[in-house]
Symmetry: D2
Subunit: 284 residues, 4 copies
């Protein structure tokens, strides 16, 4: 039996008549057997085309396909990303003291739900060392002080260098610098609480409690320089009532946070998210 | 067979040892047969007690019970509200041009889901006259101009006087004056769109579309002088994706709006909502 | 400005390398500008390919495209369906006495959410005549008796002949004969309550109440000869609690029924549902 | 400052005028400061009264209160249960090979979300030993064979004797005997998948996949001699689509299973569930 390799091609291209034919013909030339194809156009006149093609590469020489895609890219000013499932993405996890998101990610990873390698966990605290190490994941504690934040980030960048494809902030309670973010554009995923209505600023759970909200939510997004304002990947809510104390809200918040973050990480790891400006196209 | 009348008693009282005994003993003295009792204390030391008691008044003389409740009220500085289901609440509906909320309310009312009378619909436009009148509800068109807003509100107040117990703003696109609101404290229910995160200001659906949100929601609340900031009665969300246009978001928004508003109106009509400061206790 | 016509092409085909290229090339030859393309393969080796392509037909001659698709169909043993949005689908609604589903469908139709024409409503009762006629929809009352069911169905078929593309059973409480169903294969949509676990047989709401279920649901499906066992189009649930009486469950059931049915009708009307055996592929 | 102890009283009683007064007066006599009271009557004429009272026992002598409750119980043929939060419930967990439910329970327990002690985990396999022991929970492997099932259950009963208050079957893939169940009436919680419609028998996920369901669910219930038919504590669903393989359905099923089971365990541990025949009253 021939070995089958599942490959994902993501394309972002200016709208152009025949673009889908062009891409699928190229794939056919390379003997790619398409399993799923999703395509979306923002505007059929002068919009942007988003495509996700998942194919089986039986006799496909991926390197040659990639070369042809580069030619296509130059010709049509399109962006593409080719990812083979044989080569798992490498994911770093940043944490502080809360373990709920970290544990959910580790569990889904060990259950083969999230197809990644986890080369390391980085934290500004030492609290979660055992959690990581007991699952065989190296843990690096990089203490942070306001004065020497640059230094700490530099240390993290050295640890990450050449080792990871994307970063998950699993309740990492520090703000990353624009310099750090620029090294991983649309490759850093964050989770934060969300409320209807929004409570911007300190102590959102206390303020949500004081307002008597009936739903609490969580939003997973890519990190940009605008704090908590990057492209949204996934969101969900949980129903609560007046019997929840402010602490009870936090607990309910943890449940929805870990679920939404893990879902967003799955979508990213499976190349189901395309970013366009400050929004995402998610093919799920 | 004796006639059975279902009555609801709502109580808001400072925390005090024995308060529930006091109330249930009084009800027993008046031969009230308790069917449901919900009680919540914000803090057992010096908090507030909220109670909702639904009872069957077989041999209960409600007027005498009410007199005794007034005595209790003075003694313990508590607030109470006694509502007999024999006497349906009277609900006015304010609309502008959108019919989705109005139609949902009318349908639930005709299906005996919302136990109210609807003496009138008031609008700043004439568009929905037929909808109201075809269901036998008087419709009053009160045109609005910025200069003569007071006059219009005055007209509305005259129409409402002595005729209604609470008001529902079913996509009524005008801001009520503090004077108007003061006539119906915690008796005006509004519905508005909600997003995670919030988009304050103009064109929220367009901005939610531009941000690529994955959920859109609606919040029903009592109207206070802080626009859209009153006590929340009910909320819900609906999942959307990148295939929704800005118009598609508006359509999805209508569905969740009408559902949430109708649910909030039911809760209010059945005396299941107690307001405390800027939050609600909802016993459902 | 040129007139733009949005057209949808649905394809079900045996798996074959290059099939997507073949289809998109054909569309390109006919100057079809693809806006959305969704494709799914059940198995990349010997499965079935499902495709939905939505395109703008600016200079496309649809009749010629259709001819070429017929050639393709014979060549590759594939099924296709070509639907132009210029030609709205014609939907008949069958009802009995409950109005909630009918009213929701009419409202969404009048709000331009469901792009169909409604040439007639047929009922085995006369109760909902006014609802239909007040919205300008002809209403036909065909009384039913066990003995003369065939005759009644025959009458309905005559009314429908050449006039409708699909039928919605909006709480129509009669079982259609295999003969009737065979005239509208995968073109009759039904809604029925669903519970976790299932309560098969009479009085499901009473039995769900007796079991104390926490969720009630609804399932919209295509009608086949296996009662309530046809391909599922859409499902949803609603949370309930012990305070709901058996009647309260029925009310909650109505809300979820009308929502799920209307959603399924939208999906069908927009050609987003492909049926394969006893299951559906829904591209939403 | 006085030490405050939170105590929960559950009561199931035949309907009787004044019952709530009787109970709350007794509590007042014992200086119990009521924080929450929920009460529900199935029928105000000759139904059953369910009450949950949570109170602060500052100067309350619980033993004396219990004696008085026993008197009350004999007098009115009522059942009661008095649980002090100072004395945490002891929960045994039964597992087979799947770890998702076990891990979720352990995490919520370690996060102080589920107020119990976990004296032991029992399994018919040795696979999850490390998971339990790494969290300091003794793990007992009791191999099972069809011929000697009685013996294995006997062994389990000896391990549990006097040590646990309730049992959670966290994906325990064995059927307990009526004898075993009779030792823990309404004290064994199980989780199982649920579908709309139901798929009774083997391979439900494969059959749900073949039917193309749009929702998969999970039901947590008390174990009775009718397999998977005991009183329902909690249920929830998760939306899926045609892109989920049968394995993908199983993964989605795991997520909803662990969430629903953990929620049901919380409700039970906090004495929020009253069982009546084959249904539950859940005060949440």
């Amino acid at each position: 039996m021939q070995k089958r390799n599942r490959v994902t091609l993501l394309i972002t291209s200016p709208e152009k008549l025949g673009m889908i034919s062009t891409v699928t013909n190229l794939l056919l030339d390379h003997k790619a057997n398409i399993v799923h194809l999703d395509q979306h156009t923002t505007d059929p006149q002068d919009g942007i085309i988003f495509m996700r093609v998942e194919f089986e590469a039986v006799d496909t020489e991926l390197q040659k396909l990639e070369e042809d895609l580069h030619v296509l890219s130059r010709e049509h000013a399109l962006d593409f990303q080719l990812s083979s499932q044989e080569k798992r993405k490498r994911m770093a996890i940043f944490v502080s003291k809360s373990d709920h998101c970290l544990l959910e990610l580790i569990w889904r990873w060990k259950s083969n739900e999230i197809p990644v390698d986890i080369p390391l966990v980085i934290s500004n605290h030492d609290d979660l060392r055992e959690v990581a190490e007991s699952h065989g994941i190296p843990y690096y504690h990089i203490p942070l002080s306001k004065e020497r934040k640059d230094e700490a980030e530099q240390k993290a960048l050295e640890l990450l260098k050449g080792k990871v494809d994307f970063i998950v902030l699993a309740r990492y309670m520090q703000i990353l610098s624009p310099n750090f973010i620029s090294k991983f554009p649309n490759q850093i995923i964050n989770i934060h609480h969300s409320f209807l209505p929004a409570f911007v600023g300190a102590n959102p759970y206390v303020r949500a409690f004081n307002r008597g909200v009936k739903l609490i939510g969580a939003t997973a997004h890519y990190v940009t320089n605008d704090l908590d304002e990057g492209p949204i990947i996934e969101q969900d809510v949980q129903r609560i009532n007046h019997r929840y104390s402010a602490d009870g809200l936090k607990i309910a918040g943890r449940h929805v946070e870990k679920r939404v973050l893990a879902e967003a990480v799955s979508l990213h790891a499976e190349d189901k998210v395309l970013v366009h400006g400050n929004k995402t196209i998610v093919f799920k």
